[in-house]
Assembly symmetry: C2
Homo-oligomer: 636 residues x 2
């Protein structure tokens, strides 16, 4: 399902309206377009830059609110207002924070095994990881939560693996990874973004250019290397099609109306070392025209590689000529890094990284301009090392400055007003500690950011925490952005384990996780009940049993050395938060069993002896006594 601008109430601006903003009745309530002179009436900012640009909140739909009037301290027993999902980099996992407490509510293992949750220990998750390449780690960067009508729908989160070219899906009913796809023709999947408004695709954005297929051909011919954008069906996790491009890509974001998808990329030079990669003064934002690509696929204009239709989206492709090129290459300052689309869908804003500016691209203009560069409508000069940009829904953008160790707040329309490179749009800067990568504001990736909280994901913490050896924690800082008069306020430092890259913040009421497993989610014969069964056949022993406070179904299970043993175990508790596990000493087994959950594990009983199987979750006063014997008799 693809929506057009016409049907999208949040995209009712036009190029013309950009210069005709005196009529209040035409303002988009989500993203007030206010002429420069009105900024002055709305109050003067108190930011570090002493800029003349001011607050737009008094004229927009969302009022700003002082920090005293909001909950910033979450007392014992109180609940947080938001979930934050953080892609925790080379740890391979997603972390879930509560906002504003910044407490880590949960870890969700994705690309690594995890004994606490039994992830990679039971047969199903073990097979899922094996089928996805058998890697023991991944580099989880960009968690994005599925949306319907440009708002979070609570179904899934997705996250990329930059190390091994994969995309994973997390089921938000159970907060568990339920699918991983190894993306063909892609090494280093960087971005992981849903096509909005309705998550028609999840895009894997290819960073590292490699031969295609990467099977030993073209090793010394970097010109023949390619990176691709991969469109993945979120229901089936099937890779539907790919588009090959010039240069590489890194970060990405979707327009709000289903037509455009944007990716930055460094290395338009297609070099293979740093000096070659940074030679040119410009690189590109690639704007993918999704309906045009779908038409090309439909028309058979592709090559199949690795089982996937690959459409040629390089500049020289015939598909990139004429009235409706499938990929538009917009020149931006060199090595741009982050890109994000404003909540109203009007602009895509790319950060300069090695250049102190951001580039504001007008998305409607892009569709109409003969030269894509004509769609560039603003060039705010923000500071050193601009990387990523988030939004508050009141017309402000917040951009991390990696080198300056700051977050800069600036006015989007003021940047468009200024057109040329200018520091005028800058409202305020706040120091962060230190060297921020991504930042994220509450619901910034939707059409309706909440405008209260922002997290700056800082790469270095240096001296902000007690020393813990040469590997420092990172520092995720919580900043209140809800008060345009007072400006940004740093509220909390949060040490974090390596290495949160990006995050999504979702209002608590938009998720409805299950507290107990639903037996309907299993095949009926898979679930054990409180009767036990041991099936022995040809050197295989299948034990179907259950766990409940304070026992497993069998006191003793006797097998013979060399048997292939399968345990299928159901936790038959019906009360939330009463977990069991089946841990088997010296057999490297630990499967987690939440209430009504069934898991299965298979292993070879290759060492004779007595092994006390136990429950690793402290489940009752008789928890220690909850153990059964696995007796492995020596083979004759």
């Amino acid at each position: 399902m693809t929506r057009t601008n016409d049907s999208d109430a949040n995209s009712n601006h036009s190029i013309e309206s950009m210069t005709d903003t005196n009529d209040d009745s035409e303002r988009d309530p989500l993203f007030a377009r206010i002429p420069r002179r009105d900024f002055m009436k709305a109050g003067v900012a108190t930011g570090a830059m002493g800029s003349l640009a001011g607050c737009t909140d008094l004229l927009s739909g969302n009022d700003s609110t002082s920090l005293e009037d909001v909950k910033s301290d979450v007392k014992p027993g109180e609940l947080d207002d938001y979930y934050a999902f953080l892609g925790a980099g080379q740890s391979g996992e997603i972390r879930v924070y509560g906002i504003p407490s910044m407490r880590q509510l949960m870890r969700i293992p994705v690309f690594q095994t995890d004994s606490a949750s039994g992830y990679g220990y039971d047969n199903r998750t073990q097979e899922m990881l094996e089928d996805a390449g058998g890697y023991t780690w991944g580099d989880a960067h960009h968690p994005r939560v599925s949306q319907t009508d440009n708002d979070y729908d609570g179904r899934w989160a997705f996250v990329n693996d930059k190390a091994n070219g994969r995309m994973a899906r997390i089921d938000l009913k159970y907060f568990e990874t339920d699918a991983i796809v190894d993306v063909p023709n892609q090494q280093g999947t960087h971005g992981a973004c849903c096509l909005l408004p309705d998550t028609k695709y999840v895009f894997g954005v290819g960073e590292l250019r490699v031969p295609m297929p990467n099977d030993g051909r073209d090793l010394d011919d970097p010109d023949a290397y390619t990176s691709v954008l991969a469109a993945i069906d979120p229901e089936t996790m099937n890779v539907e099609w790919e588009v090959s491009v010039d240069g590489n890509m890194d970060n990405a974001d979707s327009g709000k109306d289903g037509r455009w998808f944007f990716a930055t990329g460094y290395n338009s030079e297609e070099g293979v070392n740093e000096s070659e990669m940074t030679k040119s003064d410009t690189d590109w934002v690639k704007a993918f025209d999704i309906p045009a690509i779908e038409e090309a696929v439909e028309a058979g204009n592709y090559t199949e590689v690795g089982g996937v239709p690959v459409v040629d989206g390089t500049r020289n492709s015939s598909l990139n000529e004429g009235d409706r090129p499938i990929v538009r290459y917009v020149d931006v300052s060199k090595s741009p890094h982050g890109i994000s689309v404003t909540p109203d869908g009007a602009y895509a804003i790319a950060s300069g990284k090695l250049d102190p500016t951001a580039t504001v691209i007008d998305i409607e203009a892009l569709a109409e301009a003969n030269n894509p560069n004509d769609a560039i409508v603003g060039r705010p000069r923000l500071g050193m090392g601009p990387l990523h940009t988030a939004y508050d829904g009141r017309g402000h953008a917040y951009t991390t400055l990696f080198i300056d160790s700051q977050v800069v707040k600036w006015d989007i329309e003021a940047a468009v007003e200024a057109k040329a490179e200018s520091t005028d749009p800058v409202i305020e800067k706040i120091d962060v500690h230190y060297n921020p990568g991504h930042l994220i504001a509450a619901e910034s990736y939707t059409a309706n950011p909440q405008g209260d909280w922002l997290i700056s994901l800082n790469k270095l913490s240096k001296d902000r925490f007690l020393p813990v050896g040469p590997m420092h924690p990172e520092n995720d800082q919580l900043i209140y952005i809800g008060d345009d008069e007072e400006g940004m306020t740093l509220v909390k430092d949060t040490p974090s384990y390596a290495e949160p890259h990006d995050a999504s913040i979702v209002s608590a009421e938009k998720l409805d996780p299950a507290k107990v497993y639903d037996p309907e989610d299993y095949d009926e014969e898979f679930v054990s009940n409180d009767t036990n069964e041991i099936i022995r056949e040809d050197g295989r022993v299948h034990v179907k049993t259950h766990a409940i406070r304070n026992r497993f179904g069998y006191e003793t299970v006797t097998v013979t050395e060399g048997d292939e043993v399968t345990f299928t175990v159901t936790n038959i508790e019906e009360v939330a938060d009463i977990l069991h596990s089946l841990a088997i000493p010296e057999y490297d087994v630990n499967i987690k069993l939440a209430p009504q959950e069934t898991r299965e594990v298979t292993f070879t009983a290759d060492e004779p002896g007595v092994y006390w199987m136990y429950c690793a979750f402290f489940c009752s006063a008789l928890h220690m006594e909850m153990r059964s014997r696995l007796v492995v008799e020596p083979a004759e």
Copy 2:
């Protein structure tokens, strides 16, 4: 080195002084012995029980301090006062919190692999895990920090693996696991405690009774099963000797003067199912007389099993008869759980678990009594499900009540005064949320607890946090215990990933971790400098190189399909907090490189193609460009 009571200034009490406490001049400054009538003068407690027992702080060396007068909120940029080391159960790791912020400062992987820190990915840690049994997980329960003269010395932390019978050592210079020993003859190492005052041994306490050796013999003869206490040298991590006992063991603690070591145990019945294990009304505390055991080992009174001298410490052993039995079996109420020694070394206090009392054992009396049960001097009735006890250094004990979901504060000397089972010693109870296991107070395991902060490690969180699926977080609650007038105050709820069991809290100034690796800690030839070297020999390729912002030593490394490739890489940065890694896509490699750190990884280049090796730590503005090609040429 073993110290005797005579040389220990903290143990200058005697059985006689217990009943002669009117003379203030005889009071131990660390543990004031105050007669019952003085409690009344010191103020009446305001606890939930309305007990008449009161505060002893006004008469002891440590004054109590109101919560307003201490730092309880750690603001951005402020440092914590304490480190807490938590044994994080079936996750296999140690977690480091800052106290009082309750922020997680670091994870230290111990029994599992961890891609963020490269633990289990470089050759040395991979071999260490392989040599320790090759398991991919462990169940890390009881972290204890090494002491000298009954105070933390900042050298090591130790933690047990309950799943696989192992003990690990964490080097607190680098906050890294540097040794793991697979303890022979032990399945389910439960306790992990240093022999005090000077960490002469680390004790692995055997929980699960199994045949010895567990090689297929005695499978159906539970009477022949055995559990052992294992004494491990903390420097060499060699298992020096073991003692076999009747029944099993679980928690343990050391006396303060090098003579006694105490372990609780359930299942004196030596049953193999729950009803057999809980039949008897009593179980034992086992008190190990360490010098007596050392004498037995010295005299050759042992059997060697699995390469370790095993001394017979069962009740029927000749070594347990006569004047100086090596193990004393003290009868306590059934299935006791925690045991801990008071800061002055006077008492070992065992919690009843299935019985509402704790048992107070007088340690000096134990040495002198003919019947070990004569050393029992108190039996406070605390509440339902008493599990573990911590101390504030002002004469109070704090015990978790698993079933009541409370922490009870009680007066140790009042319990001794009452002698018989009594609720009189109870001062106050506070609700915790919910079902606490261990609790720990600041420096409770030393001779001088700080008396300000206590953490209750609660097993269930139920509704205390936003829902995150069927696997709930646990809840580590911070309680202020520094004000005896106001009583205990709950300060923070902290969600935690499964499953912190026990913890040690250490004052910040007692640790001095390194921020940069010391090249002196390596063999000189192991460390690469900024010259590169590739050694090719017989299908092996050894690349010695380095990492620095923003490059590895080689832009391209070309090998042939089938080569065994070794990378030895040094991070030659000298600045703290600038980490690199060597990540190799699709080869499942990621080795972490902190400043001046060298790591080595070996793999077989079995898939031809181009692989962009990159740095997974965001290290500079040109971090994305920090990548080199591994070119694997097809074999002929």
